[in-house]
Amino acid sequence: MNEQVLALMPLLVTTATVVGSMFVIAVRRDHDLTGGVTIVGMNLALLSVLVSWIATDGHAIAVTGLMLVDSTAQFAMVLVLVTTLGVLTLCPAYFNGYRGHREELYLLLGVGTLGALTLACASHAATLLLGLELLSLPMVGAVAYAIDRPRSIEGGVKYLILSAGASATLLFGLALIYAETGALDLASLAGAIASAGLGSPLVTVGAAMLLAGLAFKLSFVPFHQWTPDVYEAAPLPVTAYLPTVVKVGAFVVALRLLHAGVSSASPLIVSAIIGLALASMLVGSLLALRQSNLKRLLAYSSIANFGYLAVVLALPGVEAVRAAGVFLVSYLITSLGVFGVMTMVSSPMGRHDHEDIDEYRSLLWHRPYLAAILIAMLLSLAGIPLTAGFVGKLAVIGVGVQAAQWWLVAGVVVASAIGIYYYLRVINAVIRNVDPDAERVAVAVTWVYRASATMLLLATLVTIWLGVYPQPLFVFGRYLAFP
């Protein structure tokens, strides 16, 4: 088979999946069927990534001038597809309770995933924007999906306007750099950004706008205000999708554009990123302290976590990118676990999701297994050893120490210490036994329920396994770094 087709196979399969599920909806509205088609399609896409990964053996394949399927792209595609599958597994059980049309959600998530895959492979400004919009626009629909809920429309509109604004800023930034350099492929853009300085005002302003646009997508402080509102408004599986798939896509672009690799980066950009990273982790942690809504708390926690990840952007070298790979994997699994438990507690969907911390009170006594998973995942988010979250944090602190970026290291330490407090608040509620004779909640075990449970169990096992034996994480994290 043509090498280029093989390399693009994941995107093609995903596109086919989206079209296929659209077709299925047109012929017969059936929730399980649509969900099944999408899940099978995504599995095939994942398989094709793995096949092309083995076939190409890690060397980069340029597909026209627009896309570049290298090991970074393949690593990111695996992450995106695995996370998407995780979220999709949660959907059937959850949306069974929705009274409107349930099937289109799979369409929206499918298109979003296609966008994330495009972003992972983008090597040109055109594909970059295409991917970004493919990823953002379906999310507007997905956030506002449960239209009978009071906050949905507000959340959707907020996301639409701010996301469009961010895309426009990013586009403007690209245009300014283009005006100076005359090139639109990401490699030359990255080169131009790396040389940004006071001597070249156009590039510097362009780089700043580009950074702001990406910072919005990754919800770095001070571009974070939308995050808690939108996360709160979205139905839970979509909330799970936002900080994982959407942010991975944007982060790969940030890595390609802003990370210096082996060459030296522009000091201006590096200090801007350091500022964003410190602000994100500290402000994110501090604002999470007083939240009583678990969705908002996790939104702030995701801001703080991407603050840790931003550390990596500011540090040169392959080691830093490897740390980013390690951190991303551990963060994705953990987030999937936390949101997964929340989704299962809230399934089937009702008037509102279970999102108040009080609603999780004494969960350990009502639903011991779910609660145990939630506790493990929260400890992982807090970065306690024996969980994957610790390994991710270890990797980030490690590169920070190596590069002698003491402010960043201090920021990570302080933010983690604050973080423990709010994760423990949730754990406290979960283990608090208010009613000693509490009955276990009996849930009808259907296949959809079992699918979600299996996914969660798998995520927990992987979290603990990687926490105890992190060697594979460091080996695979390296693939994000191959030039």
């Binding site: 490690g398 210490a417 034996y469």
Partner: protein, 521 residues
């Protein structure tokens, strides 16, 4: 493999007793008791059969890397140069025996105290004990940090789930969270130091490693050594606890269940002293010698502060908690004095304090079980009501104040004489702690046991039961051990002589002065 089994037995026992609850309500207790007894037997067997006398045990010697009585190494994270490396010398062996012994006591003390979810309780208790044993064995810094943190979560659960809300309005979740944040935040500082040390070593040699053998004797510039040393020092100072970083301890103790308190005071605090001895000082000898006077005075502050505050407590458990601060102050002084006598004293003091504080916490639990209060103002005249409990309380109070003939006296006396040689004023001021100890110990005895019957003692008069056979057996075992340690401490001293001498060499023969050309990270 013996070392791996020492860690695994409590972990497996914990899992079994968790699952065992489904079979019978009493199963978790028996499974936990049996596994701790097996672990204790295994550690005693190691003590009895292995040789702990060769020189340089556990620390770098002139001849080269540390020697271990038993060593175990397996690959773990080759990408980071971290391996599953365990080593046992006389010091770690004694502390493991203490851990397993107090583990048995903690299980026994929880026999009636824990009346719900016994399976999950014993899972947490045994995992905590397993983590502690691991801390005493790990000689890979990353592995050490891992196990150091693994101790935390189970302890948090013990306090948050089975603790009691203190009468002063502080809830158990408050105490548990405070404990967790203190230890975790300081632990992160240690992690940064560990990573910093590894990278200094990497820059000097080009090898990424976290192994204790390799990192010992890393050359670095004086400021870098100071910074890295402080990371370790702070982590251990919080856990010890050194005043003014002790804020978590009284609350954690007041709210913890009896078994948790025994574990916390008897074992967890010792991990900090062990960490200083094994890692904090040998890895950064020059900076440690420079900080020694400050650390010793902090120890003196702890001795005096703990004693004075203990005196003014009305909650008997809180009182005992503050005495721990006072006693661990002596340990800090001894560690930084660094003479052979002082270090011997440190080891004896750690064991004696583990036994006496453990016993006192068990007695506090038994008093609380019978009176439903721990308030000393509500007690009085216990002696007229009970034949067995009061004499034991008096005995362990006397042990705590350092009565000659008991283990604590040997420890404190050795520490003070050993310190007097190098820092006379520290020894002089610290010995006032012995006087304060008499005051707080006797006031506790006086208020609880003597005087007219009143308060809760009078109210509870009808349903009063004295110590059961289980409780009597525990108390007698601890009494015998404490008297034995006081009258014939030789076996302990023999076991730790080699490590103590090797450790003391850090102070007496400082290696070449820190090179100014050391590598910055």
């Amino acid at each position: 493999m013996t070392l791996v089994w020492l860690i695994l037995i409590p972990l497996i026992g914990g899992l079994l007793s968790w699952r065992g609850e489904r079979m019978a309500p009493a199963a978790p207790r028996w499974i936990a008791l049996v596994s701790m007894l097996v672990a204790l037997a295994l550690s005693l067997w190691v003590w009895a059969t292995k040789d702990f006398s060769f020189t340089g045990a556990g620390f770098s010697s002139v001849a080269g890397p540390p020697n271990w009585t038993i060593e175990f190494r397996a690959t773990w994270i080759p990408a980071l140069g971290a391996s599953f490396h365990l080593g046992l010398d006389g010091l770690s062996m004694l502390l493991i025996v203490l851990t397993n012994l107090l583990g048995v006591m903690a299980v026994l003390a929880s026999w009636r105290d824990i009346d719900r979810d016994a399976g999950f309780f014993h899972l947490n208790l045994l995992w905590n004990l397993g983590g502690v044993v691991g801390v005493f064995l790990a000689v890979d810094l990353l592995l050490f940090f891992f196990l150091w943190e693994v101790m935390l979560v189970p302890m948090y659960m013990l306090i948050a789930l089975w603790g009691s809300d203190a009468p002063n309005g502080k809830t158990r979740s408050y105490a548990a969270t405070k404990f967790f944040i203190y230890t975790q935040a300081s632990g992160l500082l240690m992690l940064v130091s560990i990573l910093g040390l590894a990278f200094v070593h990497y820059n000097a040699t080009g090898i990424v490693t976290f192994d204790y053998h390799d990192l010992l004797g890393t050359t670095m510039s004086a400021p870098v050594e100071w910074l890295l040393m402080l990371g370790f020092f702070l982590a251990f100072a919080v856990k010890m606890p050194v005043v003014p970083l002790h804020g978590w301890l009284p609350d954690a103790h007041t709210n913890a269940p009896v078994g948790g308190s025994v574990d916390l005071a008897g074992i967890l605090l010792k991990t900090a002293a062990y960490g200083l001895l094994r890692f904090g000082i040998p890895l950064f000898p020059h900076a440690s010698i420079e900080i020694a006077p400050i650390a010793m005075w902090l120890g003196v502050a702890g001795v005096a502060y703990g004693a004075v505050i203990a005196f003014s407590q009305t909650d008997i458990k809180r009182l005992v908690a503050y005495t721990s601060i006072s006693h661990m102050g002596f340990v800090v002084i001894g560690i930084y004095a660094g003479t052979e006598a002082a270090l011997m004293g440190v080891v004896v003091q750690m064991i004696a304090h583990g036994l006496s504080a453990g016993a006192l916490f068990i007695l506090c639990g038994e008093i609380h079980e019978r009176l439903q209060t721990r308030d000393l103002r509500e007690m009085g005249g216990l002696w007229t009501r009970l034949p067995y409990l009061p004499p034991f309380l008096l005995f362990f109070a006397l042990a705590s104040l350092g009565l000659p003939g008991l283990g604590n006296f040997v420890g404190e006396f050795l520490i003070l004489t050993g310190t007097f040689v190098v820092a006379p004023w520290v020894a002089v001021v610290a010995s006032t702690g012995l006087i304060f100890a008499v005051v707080y110990a006797l006031i506790m005895v006086q208020r609880a046991l003597q005087g007219p019957v009143r308060g809760a003692v009078a109210d509870a008069a009808l349903k009063f039961a004295d110590l059961t056979r289980r409780e009597l057996a525990m108390m007698f075992a601890l009494v015998i051990l404490l008297v034995g340690l006081g009258l014939y401490p030789q076996p302990v001293i023999d076991a730790v002589r080699a490590p103590v001498q090797a450790f003391g060499a850090i102070y007496t023969f400082p290696a070449a002065a820190p090179t100014a050309a050391g590598v910055a990270p």
